[in-house]
Symmetry: C2
Subunit: 337 residues, 2 copies
């Protein structure tokens, strides 16, 4: 795996804590939780990018917090993220994730939902355990509030996303609101919680949260771009994949808002029909090109990057840490997978 | 509605707090949460029995705790209960609850799952808010731990319940373990949390929790009896309803363990077939009668009652409060709905 330093910096500690939290249970749900977190038959989990716990720990680190004490909270956030991935995979009908069959494909839908819920309670159990590491109860309680509020946003965002599939008239502000909740909220919470655990004051914690929200928006918009124009060899999906699935991602929302004449008629006809054929995908790709939807999306992501780095500069952290966040931003906006 | 005093004692306060917690949001999920909690077009919710928050408050009351401060926690438990009901209704395919269409029947399955999750986060938000009422942070944190552990048990119990449907060889201890989690855990938590909020020591809190667990077991076993022999006019279900749905409730588990010869063959044939016909229901009812399954179940529920009251007597509460719990037990074991 390629990527910036931050994706490796705390990896060993995160793996250790994930292993500690999940390795003991012996029920069917415990096994499913381990599967979701990438467990092979034996040994340590094969985690994904671990972006959220890494960001939580980097924020804590940059403000001089106790990393070892923050570790259970960081891992709790990764569990919450995986809970949302389980639901995403079910709602989107996705068959694979990280080159393995998705949880619901292996265990069935009802069982996957149950495992997702179990993982959520495991997240709170792990988070609550953070007082044992010496963190003050008030900081842990504040971390819980921030994480729970993020959960509310994720659930609301996933629900909005579902409802958008049935509508042709989703506006750009509505779309940004939806991804702010679905993708931005937990990244925002990751950084904010890291700051809270380090004892940051409210303003500093909010600046970290703001950075995380903008990072999340840039991340999701890049995801939207890759979902349409990503190369199959890197993303595991064919070009036009999100069009074939009728997903109303940012480039499509922009096209619906901008296109006029025959292009608009074509979009309405394609997204109003029960099934999208291969030639429809090509036609929509052509419409997106004529209305510069890819460049619009990438430009918006760059705007969020600038806004994120502006928030971070006001949080007054050391240049080395600032560079680490900046490297991550570059990675998010340039990645091909 | 009939029933013991405890089901009315705190009703007005519970309704007020439920209204406060749920009346402000204006998203589609907020509306679904209100529907689940019995909201009519206008005004206050038309709640169900509110057994769990009532028990939480009675435990708190009996130990001299601050009822007003405990109210958000009690209501949070009712929200957790309703979260589990939403999933129960989906898993069982139930069309009605409290004489209204179930949430998933009105809004669809995916949306109902999302509303259930939203209700769960609302529970934690409401619980966290209890510090504002003057409760010490340590007691609120302990309440969260108890409620979260109950959630883990509920999820595990619902998952076991699902897996039992595919098995003919469920043993009585396995069944009791399952209902301890699915039905006992939250009743146990309700009473234990009430004691914790009143400042009870660990032993006293555990005795209340033990009472709640046994109450939950007696409650579920009575439910199992009503699911098979309940009169349609009171329960809203025909006699033999749980047989027709192939639910492996206590009388059936007992019959599978006890019956020999042709009766055993009949049970295996009926529960092994893809569909149960009306004449199968009658045949199973006859088998249950020959093996005294109803009396066995009611006897077991009475045993749990005795064990519950024994735990309560060790908790040393005033005679009036003890009588209130005893009345509730009589209601649980004699109710027809």
């Amino acid at each position: 795996m390629e990527g910036p330093e931050i994706l490796y910096r705390y990896r060993r500690e995160i793996e250790r804590e994930v292993t500690r939290a999940l390795s003991t249970g012996d029920s069917a749900l415990d096994e499913m939780m381990r599967y979701q977190l990438g467990w092979a038959a034996e040994g340590t989990p094969n985690l994904g990018k671990c972006l959220r716990p890494s960001l939580c720990l980097l924020a804590c680190d940059a403000l001089g917090g106790d990393l070892e004490a923050a570790l259970p909270v960081a891992v709790a956030i990764e569990f919450v993220h995986n809970f949302s991935l389980i639901h995403d995979d079910i709602e989107d009908g996705d068959d694979t994730r990280h080159h393995r069959p998705t949880l619901w494909r292996v265990y069935g839908r009802d069982h996957a939902v149950a495992a997702g819920l179990a993982l959520w309670t495991k997240a709170y159990e792990t988070l609550d355990g953070a007082t044992a590491g010496g963190l003050p109860a008030e900081r842990v309680l504040e971390a819980r509030r921030v994480v729970n509020a993020a959960c509310q946003n994720i659930i609301e965002g996933q629900h909005l996303d579902l409802s958008f599939e049935l509508r042709a008239d989703v506006t750009l502000p509505e779309y940004i609101d939806m991804i702010s909740r679905k993708s931005g909220a937990l990244l925002s919470a990751s950084l904010r919680v890291g700051a809270v655990l380090a004892g940051a004051n409210d303003e500093q914690a909010m600046l970290f949260g703001d950075f995380g929200l903008k990072l999340g928006l840039a991340f999701q918009i890049r995801d939207d771009i890759l979902g349409i124009w990503g190369e199959g060899s890197a993303t595991g999906k064919p070009v036009g994949a999100d069009i074939a699935r009728k997903k109303k991602t940012l480039p499509i929302v922009h096209a619906f808002e901008q296109a006029v004449g025959p292009d608009r008629d074509l979009l309405r006809a394609v997204y109003g029909s029960p099934r999208i054929e291969d030639e429809d995908v090509d036609a929509v790709l052509a419409v997106l090109q004529r209305w510069n939807c890819r460049y619009f999306a990438q430009g918006l992501a760059e705007d969020y990057r600038a806004s994120a780095m502006e928030a971070l500069s006001r949080a007054q952290i050391a240049p080395d840490d600032r560079r680490r966040f900046d490297d991550l931003m570059s990675f998010v906006l340039e990645r091909d997978y």
